[in-house]
């Protein structure tokens, strides 16, 4: 089994209520997911709480995960990121829960398509590097700091509509780069 298949198998056993598999899944992935929580929340106590939340969600709802195109790590990281962003926004008194985006499922592809998708996912760092610095900054501050269009607009002192137009253009550039 590849490391990806091992993690997929742990998630599948967790979905059947297997606590030993869930414990192994935690041991295998918690250091990555804690790193995500810390990056978003910036302080240990909040990040610890977010990590526990993240894994309780994984325990309860792992049956909704389906092995598919992408690395199972990307799914676990998405849950950790969304959980941390929700806490960050609650702290700011905002309520626009990311939680509902946790379990968006993707119909499974063929193995070839999966191999392409997985190699693409590894290239995102390089492709982000092709964007203009302020555009890259805007995408990162939405993803890692949970900033809204209005907040990005304030921070970069650029009109909101302009921000949205060029952020969308950056996403297109990113997508073109990823599928090259």
């Amino acid at each position: 089994m590849t490391p990806q298949q091992e993690i997929e198998a742990m998630i599948a056993r967790t979905a059947l209520g297997d606590r030993a598999a869930f414990s192994a899944l935690y041991d295998r992935t918690a250091a990555k997911l804690f790193s995500v929580s810390m990056r978003v929340l910036g302080e240990t106590a909040a990040a610890e709480d977010a990590l526990q939340d993240t894994f309780e969600k994984i325990w309860r709802q792992s049956g909704r995960f389906r092995a598919g195109k992408y690395s199972p790590m990307s799914w676990l990281i998405t849950v950790a990121r969304n959980t941390a962003i929700d806490r960050l926004r609650q702290r700011k008194g905002q309520a626009a829960p990311m939680e509902e985006a946790d379990w968006v499922a993707d119909p499974g592809p063929g193995p070839e398509e999966a191999a392409i998708a997985r190699s693409e996912a590894g290239r995102v760092g390089a492709c982000m590097g092709e964007l203009k610095p302020e555009h890259r900054q805007a995408i990162q501050s939405a993803y890692l700091d949970g900033l809204s269009y209005a907040e990005i607009s304030q921070r970069q002192d650029i009109p909101l509509n302009t921000i949205r137009t060029w952020l969308r253009r950056s996403l297109q550039t990113l997508k073109d780069c990823l599928s090259r």
Binding site: L16, F34, E48, Q52, W59, Q61, D106, A121, V124, L171
Partner: protein, 221 residues
Amino acid sequence: MPEDDALAAEFALGLLEGGERAAFAKRLREDRALAAKVTYWQAHFAGDGSEIEDLAPPPRVKTKLMQAIAPEGARKKGGWLGLRGLFGGLALAGCVALAVFLMQPPADGFAPQYHADIAAQDETLLLTALYDPEHSLLEVTVDAGAAPTGRVLELWAIVGEAAPVSLGVLNADGPSRLTLTEAMAAGLTTATLAVSEEPPGGSPDAGPSGAVLAAGAVTAL
């Protein structure tokens, strides 16, 4: 970029707000192509973890986590009591019916010797399976919950580390009586039964194609 691709990326980033966000989330529940677009962006933004440095959390997080999901003790009892609160009369009636049922095998000779409580983690879907190995008959009743709209429930047997074996699609209205082939019945008395949601007619694949919603171990009555 096509509008839906842009919206999917904005949704994944958390940039959609208010009515626009609600409208998109509503479409997402029914449109699998749209869901695939969101997953695309989520997977790319998240990466595969190889660029993330490990940061070990303190051991207390795992201790608290494993307590929170522990099977015995306060949490599980609470769940059971909560369930009785909701389904109190129904569950009691079910127990009485089951007792009568066990004492007096029905005319067709169905005499279950094994059973399984098949439950979702959050108990939103509960099924009871009764198995009669003499007659290779399995009877499955949905006690709570249902398949999502436009989908059906499919029953699977998982024996050890082997791949799930389909036992059939369950009736939407009322108990399902499944006659098992020898291959289906092999190892069933020690199997885990699982239920997935599938397109009408059942999974197009060898294994579940939809989400696994509930599971439970087969035990002797």
